[in-house]
């Protein structure tokens, strides 16, 4: 394996990890409430600015920042669900979608008002920025941290949804709402938990995103959020495994697209991602791991 190829592979895995972290939340939430949460990408911004704020104090150790970012993301997700999604339950699907669109506008423009549109810099500690040699290639330590922490979170999530009572309730709710209610599952609480977990992941992706790319602004979440949705569609909306798979495939494809083609085309990167979306929708609307969509009673 050439050093160049390995380098590209690691870049793709890094980007794919970030997409996967965001896509997981999209899919969990879609699976349960059958709704695309438009404001989901903005939680990346919330996570990034929470990190910036906490790091700027210089008092909070990084492990505590990571923990607090997860908590902030979870609370933001719960707030979104309460304000914009729970009241719309029972309304046509489009109503809920528009409501989350409105929430996204509030978060982004609220961010512009409170934080100004000026990009800000934040840096991970020195050790994260050092270079590490992997075989013939050399990568920033932060890339390995991103890949490693994503895999860790995925494994924890897998254990949670497979092995715990609440995780099982979430899957049951996504599978059959009526039956879930008949089992005595508390629907509101379970939906809230799904929002909390999915949103915490997205906020954590914001921490990683900011640290990796160094600059953040209030609109930073939009494009990654939309791309993570593309990842969901590739993997099959509603499937957590599909979201992870789609995230990595999209990250790798995007990096390969930029890395393998002549530089003239690299400006078309985002167009490539969304063209992929339209192509996937055309050819395999259920994605790789998704189940055919049937309406729930």
């Amino acid at each position: 394996m050439s050093a160049y190829f390995l380098q590209q592979l690691l870049n793709g895995l890094m980007l794919g990890s970030l997409y996967a972290l965001i896509a997981i939340g999209f899919s969990m939430i879609y699976g349960i409430v059958r709704l695309i949460n438009f404001a989901h990408g903005d939680l990346l911004m919330v996570g990034a600015f929470t990190t910036l704020g906490l790091a700027a104090t210089g008092l909070v150790p990084w492990w505590a920042i990571a923990f607090l970012v997860l908590i902030t993301g979870a609370l933001s997700g719960i707030a979104i669900e309460r304000v914009a999604i729970r009241p719309m339950r029972g309304a046509p699907q489009v109503t809920g979608f528009i409501a989350t669109l409105a929430v996204s506008v509030v978060i982004e423009n609220g961010g512009l008002i409170l934080l100004s549109g000026q990009p800000r810099t934040f840096l991970f500690p020195e050790i994260m920025r050092s270079r590490v040699t992997v075989g013939p290639a050399s990568v920033a330590a932060v890339d390995l941290v991103i890949i490693g922490s994503t895999l860790l979170l995925c494994v924890l999530l897998l254990l949670f949804v497979r092995g715990t009572r609440l995780g099982r309730a979430m899957r049951a709710l996504a599978d059959n709402l009526l039956a879930a209610r008949l089992m005595g599952i508390d629907v509101d609480r379970t939906i809230m938990a799904a929002f909390a977990i999915g949103s915490a992941f997205a906020a954590f992706a914001g921490l990683l995103w900011g640290g990796r790319f160094g600059q953040i602004d209030p609109l930073i979440g939009f494009a990654p959020g939309l791309k993570a949705f593309v990842a969901c569609v590739i993997g099959g909306v509603g499937s957590i495994g599909g979201a992870v798979l789609g995230g990595y495939l999209l990250g790798l494809a995007e990096v390969m697209f930029v890395g393998m083609l002549p530089p003239v085309y690299s400006g078309y990167r985002d167009a490539f991602v969304f063209a992929t979306l339209i192509l996937v929708l055309l050819l395999m609307p259920n994605g790789l791991l998704g189940r055919p969509e049937e309406d729930r009673a």
Binding site: F97, E108, L112, I113, F222, L226, V233
Partner: protein
């Protein structure tokens, strides 16, 4: 007794006369700023009403209007651009385009047609799927269009945008376009085509059981909406004389959706009124935002207002209806 669907009620006719009078008055007595503002408000009315066709009547959820406006705007601008400056501004244009300098109307039609063709491609891919896929795909389309125009800088000057587009659009052109758009959507809504669209919005399965070709109907609504949006984009560019790749983006998509939802999905009157109100609100909030340095305030207010409307009056101000005064006249003895 039957109704003539395309004849507006007498009060709607009055409204048309009033609109003509307002434009005439503005054209003769008001400042250039006021005339441009009035034209932009009218264009927003046309955009909201054309989105009403796609989203309101047919129940699709497209966010693609800004993409179609951008495409229509750029195509038309390239066609009308003064030939002597084309070589400098757009060096990569093929010969026949480099020497062409069209009039406003053919250029607008060309822009609208290209936008409609783009809608066909996207529509065929996405309209068979559930509603929200269209929303995300059209959002992706906004990004694709922006990126492509940014990168085709030999044709479009890329991120710099095209300035110095001839000011060919006046308030009268805008008024005629807006009246045509409203009239067309009105006529569709009150004909069997519109009833088929609304039937599909309410219950697609039932509509299909009645022999309605759901896919063809959705595609028609989507493509027609894109055509009108492309034309609106072309007219706007020749009104403000400049276009950039990001000029019509996601904030505009959101504003248009708000106009449709707040006005009431399917209500032409509602969308038109909401378009006027929200355009003026944004315009008057601008000095406030600049004074207080609170950019984005009007968007936040509009979004919060939308959430309130969705919670308190989910069908919008007018539901799917038109006010009684504007309903079609009943003409005794005409028809069956």
């Amino acid at each position: 007794m039957s109704t003539l669907p395309f004849l507006p009620g007498p009060r709607a006719a009055l409204l048309v006369v009033a609109a003509v009078a307002v434009v005439a008055f503005a054209d003769l007595h008001l400042s250039a700023y006021a005339v441009t503002l009035l034209s932009l408000v009218l264009l927003n009315v046309a955009l909201a009403v054309s989105l009403q066709l796609t989203n309101g009547l047919t129940g699709l959820f497209s966010l693609g209007h800004p993409a179609f406006m951008t495409v229509g705007g750029y195509v038309a601008a390239i066609l009308t651009y003064p030939v002597r400056r084309k070589g400098f501004m757009m060096p990569d244009l093929p010969g026949w385009l480099a020497t062409a300098q069209w009039d406003l109307i053919p250029a607008t039609l060309a822009g609208a047609t290209v936008a409609a063709l783009l809608a066909v491609i996207v529509g065929v891919a996405v309209l068979r799927l559930k509603g929200h896929y269209l929303a995300v795909a059209t959002l992706g389309l906004i990004v694709i269009v922006r990126v492509v125009i940014n990168n085709l800088d030999g044709y479009t000057r890329g991120g710099l945008g095209l300035s110095g587009v001839p000011r060919l659009t006046g308030p009268w052109e805008v008024l005629i376009f807006t009246l045509l758009t409203v009239g067309l959507v009105w006529r569709i809504k009150h004909a069997s085509l519109g009833r088929a669209m609304m039937a599909m919005r309410e219950n697609e399965l039932a509509a299909r059981c009645m022999g309605i070709d759901a896919f063809a109907l959705k595609l028609l609504a989507f493509v027609l909406g894109a055509f009108l949006a492309g034309a609106a984009g072309a007219l706007t560019v020749h009104l403000v004389s400049v276009i950039t790749p990001g000029a019509y983006g996601i904030p505009l998509a959101f504003s248009l959706v708000v106009m449709v939802v707040v006005g009431g999905s399917g209500s032409i009157t509602g969308a038109a009124l909401a378009a006027v109100a929200i355009s003026l609100l944004a315009e008057f909030a601008r000095p406030l935002e600049e004074g207080l340095e609170l950019y984005g305030l009007s968007q936040v207010l509009v979004a919060l207002g939308l959430i309130l409307v969705l919670r308190l009056r989910p069908t919008g101000l007018f539901g799917s209806r038109e006010p009684a005064a504007f309903r079609p006249v009943r003409v005794p003895g005409v028809g069956r």
